[in-house]
Structures are given as C-alpha cells and as structure tokens.
Amino acid sequence: MKNSKIYEDLSLIIKRSFRIFLLVEILLVALAIYFWKIQIVDHNKYWHQSEANRIREVVLPAPRGLIKDRDGHILADNIASFKASLLRENCKNFNLFSLRVSRLLNIEENILKERIEKYKSWPQFKPIVFEDNLNLKEVSLIEGRQLEFPELVLQTEPKRYYPQDTFAAHTIGYLQELSEEEMKSSLHKERRLGDLVGKKGIEKIYDNLLRGEDGYYVEAVDSVGRHVGMIEKRDPVQGYTLKLTIDCDLQRMAEELLEGKEGAAVVLDAQNGEVLALASYPTFDPNKFINRFSPQEWLDLVNNPEFPLENRAIRGLYAPGSLFKLVIALAALDLNLITQNTSFFCSGSTRIYNQPFSCWSEQGHGWTNLFNGIRNSCNIYFYNVGKRLGIEEIARYAVRLGYGSRTGIDLTGEKEGLVPSPEWKKKVKDAPWFPGETISVSIGQGPLLVTPLQVAVHTALIANRGVMVTPHVLMSYQNPDTKEDKEVRFPPKNFNPGIESSAYEKVIKGMWRAVNDEGTARLARIQDYDVCAKTGSTQVVSSIKGGEKPKPENKLKTHSWFTGFAPQDYPKVVVTVIVEFGGMGGASAAPLARKLFELYREKYD
C-alpha cells in the first residue's frame, strides 16, 4: 500500500503552502495598517478634499421634435438661445447677488429674488434659470465676468420657435414652465426647473413624443466652479418629428376669413377624419410663451374678454340652432313619424302647448315638406316634427348622431357639450321638463350645447350615410435620426347610429337644396360642385366660460352657423364655420365656407 494516496507524503508541498499563507497574513496586516493611516491619521486631509469636491450637473436639453403640416412645412422649430442661471452652491449672499446681477443684466431685483425663493427647495448644485433669450451683448457681459460671478452660469439650449407665429396656434398649442406642484408629481419626474412642457394642443398631447431625451454631463468642479474632471456624459436625443393632417393653405384661408371676427372654422376629410384646418379667432402667438411674459402681458392675455387662448373649435359651446334640424329630421324619418312628403303649414307663427312660436320668416313658408323644411330651415315644420318625436327620442338620436360626447380628437381640453333630457333637468335644475322646451330644442335652442368640431363630425356622419369618423390632427411621426415613419391610426368610434341609409339620402337632398336651390345656404353654392349644407343662427349667447356678457353692440345679434360637405355623392370634405354675432348663418358663415370649399376643390380635385 506504499503508493496508496492516503499515505502519500504531501508534507513538503503542504509546508510550502502554509509559508505562502503566512505571507498572505502579513500582507493583510500591512494593508490594515495602511488603511489606518489613510482613514484615521490622514482623515482630516481627505475629509476636506471630499468636502471641496463638488459636482455640477449640466443638462443638455434635447431639441423638441419638429411639427410639420401635411405638406412638410415646418410649424414648430427650434433655434438656439442663451440662458443665465444662478448656481446657489457658489453664491454666498443672495441679496448682493440680486443687486449686482440686476445691474449687470438690467433685470428687476424683485424678479430675481422671487425666482430664488420659488426654487429654494432644490439641490444647491442645480442651476436656477432666471433669464433666457439673452442677446449677444448680455452673453459677453456674463462671459467676461466669470471669475467675478462664479455663481452665474451661462447655458445654451435649443428653444422652441414657431416660424409662422399665430398660424394654427390653437392646434399646435404652447409650452409653459412647470409649476412647482407639477414638478413634484410623478408625471414629470425627469423634468427640471425652468423646463418648458407642452401645456395645450399638440404640444401637450404628444409631449411624450416631442420632448426627446435630455442628455447631460456631470462634471467635477472645485470650490470656485472650475472644471476639474468629467464624470459622466450622455448626448441628448431629439424628439420625434410630428406630421400633422393640417393643410397649410386651407388653414391659412380659414384664419384669414375669420380675421377680425370671433369664431371658428373646421375643415375635415369626410372619409378618414383628418383635420385639414382648425381655426379659432381671435388667436395668440405661441412664441410669446417661450419668451416669458411680463406679468402685465400675461394678465392682459388671460383677462381678454375675447379669450384668444381658447380653442373655440373644440371648446366653444354654442347652441346648434337650426343645424339641429338635421337630427330632428333623421330621427323622425328613422322612426317613420314622417315621410319625405309629410307637410306642415307655416304661416310665420303658431301656437303649440298654448305658447306662441314663430318662424324666422315673418310671412311664413306655406305648405312645407321635408326638403323645403331643410332648404328653408322652416321652424314651424320642425316644431311639429319635434313635437311628434318628444324629448326622449330627440335626446337619444342627438347622442347617437355625435352630440353630447367628445369626438375624441387628439387635442387637449375638448368639451363634450350638452344634450338635455328630462333626467338631466331633474338632476341639474331639480325641475320637471316642460313640453314647450321640447319645441325649443327642435330648432336647436334651449339648453343644447355643441362644439364646432362636433358639428363637423356630425356632418361627416351624415355625409358618409351613417359612418362615424374620429377627427384627428396627427398623421404620422418620424424618428429624426433613422427617418423611420410611424403611421398613426384613429379607429372610428365604435358605434353605429343604426339609422337606415334612405333617411340620410332624404336629409342630404334637403341639404343640397339649401345650397343649390335658393335655400338658406345659397351663398355657399359653387358651380358644378354639389355642396350640401345647413345653416343656423342661434339667439342665445352661450359663453365659453359661463357668465360673461356679450359686448353691448352684439346683444341683439345672433351667432352664425354653417356646416356642409361636398360633393353630394362621394363626400370628401366637410366644412363647418361659426361666426359669433355674425347674424343669419346664411349671410355671414356661408360665404366663408364657400371659399374653403373652393380652395379644397382647387387643391385636391
């Protein structure tokens, strides 16, 4: 058993290995002593060095994605801008700082102090932006005094710029600095002080696509802010380029037509819901939001009685007036309460439920059937049809035909309007429904409220003989680096009004006559182009923000409505216009709509 492994003599190599272990132990002790020296003996020295160590995080803001119209014209761009910030960890006396900087850059001292106060809860090494859009002179002033003002930091960054100023401003929306509460919410976790984020419109709803990814670098600096080492760096990534469905020619035309008035215009692709133009007037310049308002400018803007910031096309609530007669007609036809030949006699006025009701035409329209009822927008005819329907059915059909709920457009703040019903009245006003109110509702008055966009979508539904579209403004978005396009789909809202198509045909026939047979919308007539439309005028002033009074000179005027589509058989485009205090719809809204139809035909046919 001499060669058996159990008895093998391993003493030599075991001895050698234990000797090495002794070395290991000695080395361990030596290191423990060295660490003692570094951590205990020299502790003070290193402690001070660690205290003097500072980092400065410099964010490299990502350029926001571009916004383009459907033909590729740039609606929102970026340009370079300079910002001055205060780095508090380098500042010893804020009062002195405010005083000196206010002199240097000619800024009010109070504004500086306010901003310092506002952001005082933030880490010392995060710069507080107090002035942007510095001009070159100011930039060189700061640059030249870098040693004198170690707390003053200059940053260059891309700034949003809207090259066409007020063009499509309501659709594009605007950017605003985050409020402090918003900063704290988890939604804006990566956002920084002084960051501008989308607050309205496309800028807000697609903020995630547009914002890109900020880059940053973290550098080590010494106690006077000199760079001593780069710690981390990441390049910024630009946001996606958004391509909108907006057609700049139609949009411009719509804005020009509304200029000087208050109102809105919508041009919709009848087939797929693409918004070709969405104008609201008065308007505003979104560039103003980038360049910081003075407090007075801001107050003037928000207190303007004409509400330039409001997007009337999706937020303006108006009584639909005679436009609502289309709903009444469709409902009654679908329920077989009338046929196209059912006629009522209009003498200019009538009594229903013991109350007097009148037609807009004092001399009356005589015997009126469905086609002439729509063509002449005869109130008496629709009083009678509405009476047959009753409020419950009217409300049911109005909702089915697109009123009373949001259209689902990809813009912020859309209003849903109101379709009244007895239950609604009981709940909100704690009062019973009076039959007379049904008569008012039959011609689109009473508590009914709709937005111009709802009217446009409703019109598209009629034009398509019952097929709903979802209006949308975004067509596609593109990665700015790879140029890879992503289409966006907006599936139609999942409901079908379930009205038989012959009803639509009859109503459309009436709408055709309104335009082409000396009807109320005759001013929208275009030779050889079958425009079908309905006009309306509303007697009640419905406010955007409840409570405000119309200007005295407008008190007796009505809002003027027009909605229509063309061509009759293969509907391609829907145009809806409202002019506040414009008088009769046929007189002021219809001619505007005709211009838009003409331009569309010229460009797309």
Partner: protein, 363 residues
C-alpha cells in the same frame, strides 16, 4: 448519488463564510447603485442563488473525474474563447462577453476553473523537489494559450488573474534558485514586450499615475485620487449607509463593481474595512487550512491554487482602490457586482469542498 457520509463531510463553515461575504456585497451593491436603473442588487442575489446551486451540483461529482477529463474540458473551453475573438462584438472596448437574452457571461472567467483542474492534473504525480523544465513548459503552455486569447480580447485585468494560478502551481512544485532567476528575467522581458506592444496608452497612463497620482489629477489619476479621498474621508465609522458623498455623488467610477471597496471605506469607515478584512481573513485561512485535509497531491494543488486565486484578486482590488496598484479591472471576489466572477469563485470553492469531503473515501 451522493452518500450520507460524504454529505456529513461538507465544510458548512466555508459555505457560510462564502454566503456572508456575498451578503456584504449585496448590501453595498445596493448602496452604490440604488439610484441607477437596472436593480443590480437583485440581479446579484439571483446570481448568488444560481452559483450556490451550481456549487452543490459540482460537489456531487468526485473531483477525480474532473481531473481525468481536464484536458478534454480544456479543449472544449478554448474554442469559445477563440471564437469570441473572431465573432465577438466589442462591448466597452473588449470582446470578453457572450451575450444572452437576460444576462451576459465571460468565458474568460470560467476558464480559470479548467485551468486549475488541468494544472492539478499535470502535477498530480510530480514528486521531485523542484519543478522540471518539461513540467514548466507543459504547464506554461497550457496556461499561455488562454492568456494569449484573453489578452487579445483585450481584457488585461482578467489576464492578470491567471497569473496567481500558474504561480501557485510553480510554488508548490518548487523553485530552485536557478529557475527563480530565469523566471525573473523572463518576466522582465515579457513585461517589456507587453508594455511596448500590448498595453494601450490609457493603460500605460494608469500605471504611470500610480507612481504619482497628482501628476495628472484630471486624467488617469483622477479615479485613484477620488477613490482615496472617498476612503480617507470615511474616517473611523464612515459617513453612514447610502450617505457617502463621493459614491452617491458619482465621483467614484464603477462603484458597484471594481470600486465597491471604496464605497465600504467611505460609508462604514475603518470599522467597515476591518470587518471585510476579517471576513476575508476567515475565508482565506479556512481555504489555506483545508490543504492538509487533502488525501492526494492533486487535491493540495487544487486547494492552493483556488486560495491563491482568491487572495490575489482580493489584494489587487484592495490595493487598487487605495492607490497601491494600477487601476485594472479586477473585481473584489464575492463582493463586487458581476455574475461570471461570482460563479467562477463559487465553483472554485466548490472544488475545495469537493476535495475536503472526499478525504476519507477510499476509491
């Protein structure tokens, strides 16, 4: 498969020390990476569990079988190493990673286990007082092929961790004075060659700044200096868990991997350093003292090489963060974040357990 007598011979103390060191690691990985995306501490826990499972699977097989097939294993493992040079993608400047959907692995780490087995096999019947030239050439050749492949990746840090393994084998086999001088000269010539032909400019700079870190405090010396400041400013009890200004404010590079010891030094001070030193002392002494529990020569070689491998990495890492060794990517075994290194070290220790538990078994 494994009989009860064997099971009762498992060195549970060694396993406990292993887990204790790994747990310390998780605590500090959390402290140094909780503000980063990626949940490193969770991933490390998963790696620990997987490594532990691998450890138990490996000790079921008698190490004699591994030795018998060590050459086969060696050949099988050389191919992926060579293949990576040809097909690997550069990640952070090296081709040392094989990527899988949820993790990546470094074959250059795992091959150390094979190397240990092959060297133990080569010397298993060697009884002379000093090593002979043909053994030197044989063992040198066996190790230099993977070294060459890994140097080309290029991964200098990992290459360096092969050195203690071959050195350990040669120490046991015995240096004569003549061979010692020869190896010294050979090493000098080799380092001259490496310095001039293999080292990248930044690596040379790192070695230079070791001599004088203040010479270039913004460049290569910067990390050493910051690491030293971190440790020195820790004082006796440290700045507190997750309160290290150096580590939390990102002055330290590779905080959760190579520089984890600086985080310990800063946040737990000298006390923390000593706790880690003691843990390591217990682990290393347990390993070294396992040597006379081996029933055969190959077992002694295995245990010694494993102990040397771990001790070497520990010392290099600790000396690196305090500025006594060039910054070279060597992690602190069991404490640094990193799956491949952890798995390799667990498997290495499993070999020691393997040798130890079979000391009474007569085969």
């Amino acid at each position: 498969m494994i009989d009860r007598r064997l099971l009762s011979n498992i060195d549970w103390v060694l396993i406990a020390l292993l887990l204790w060191n790994s747990a310390l690691g998780v605590v500090f990985i959390y402290s140094s990476s909780h503000y980063l995306p990626g949940n490193y501490y969770l991933r490390q826990i998963i790696w620990i569990v997987l490594s532990l499972i691998a450890l138990f699977l490996f000790i079921m097989i008698d190490y004699k079988n591994f030795l018998t097939y060590s050459l086969h294993l060696y050949i099988v493992f050389i191919f992926p190493l060579a293949g990576m040079l040809l097909f690997g993608k550069l990640v952070v400047g090296t081709k040392s990673w094989i990527r899988f959907p949820f993790f990546q692995i470094q074959p250059s780490e795992l091959i150390k286990i094979i190397m240990i087995l092959l060297l133990a096999q080569i010397f298993s019947e060697y009884k002379a007082r000093y090593f002979s030239w043909n053994k030197l050439l044989l063992s040198g050749g066996a190790v230099s092929l993977p070294i060459l492949l890994v140097v080309l990746q290029p991964d200098l840090g990992t290459t360096l961790t092969y050195v203690p393994i071959i050195l350990a084998a040669l120490i046991l086999a015995g240096f004569s004075r003549k061979s010692f001088i020869f190896i010294l000269i050979f090493t000098l010539v080799l380092s001259f060659g490496v310095w001039n032909f293999f080292l990248k400019e930044y690596q040379k700079q790192r070695i230079m700044t070791l001599i004088n870190p203040l010479q270039d405090p913004l460049g290569a010396g910067y990390h050493i200096l910051q690491s030293k400041i971190a440790i020195g400013s820790g004082g006796f009890l440290g700045k507190g868990y997750k309160k290290g200004t150096q580590s939390q404010l990102r002055f330290l590079p590779a905080r959760h991997t190579d520089f984890i010891f600086s985080v310990i030094g800063e946040e737990f001070g000298y006390a923390g350093v000593i706790v880690v030193f003691l843990s390591y002392f217990l682990l290393l002494s347990r390993l070294f003292r396992s040597i006379d529990k081996s029933r055969d020569r190959a077992g002694v070689y295995i245990i010694f090489m494993v102990a040397m491998m771990i001790a070497f990495q520990f010392f290099v890492n600790v000396m690196m963060v305090i500025g006594l060794f060039p910054v070279i990517g060597i992690p602190l075994p069991f404490l640094s974040y990193g799956g491949s290194s952890l798995l390799t070290n667990y498997l290495a220790v499993s070999l020691v357990l393997n040798v130890k538990m079979r000391r009474f078994v007569n085969v």
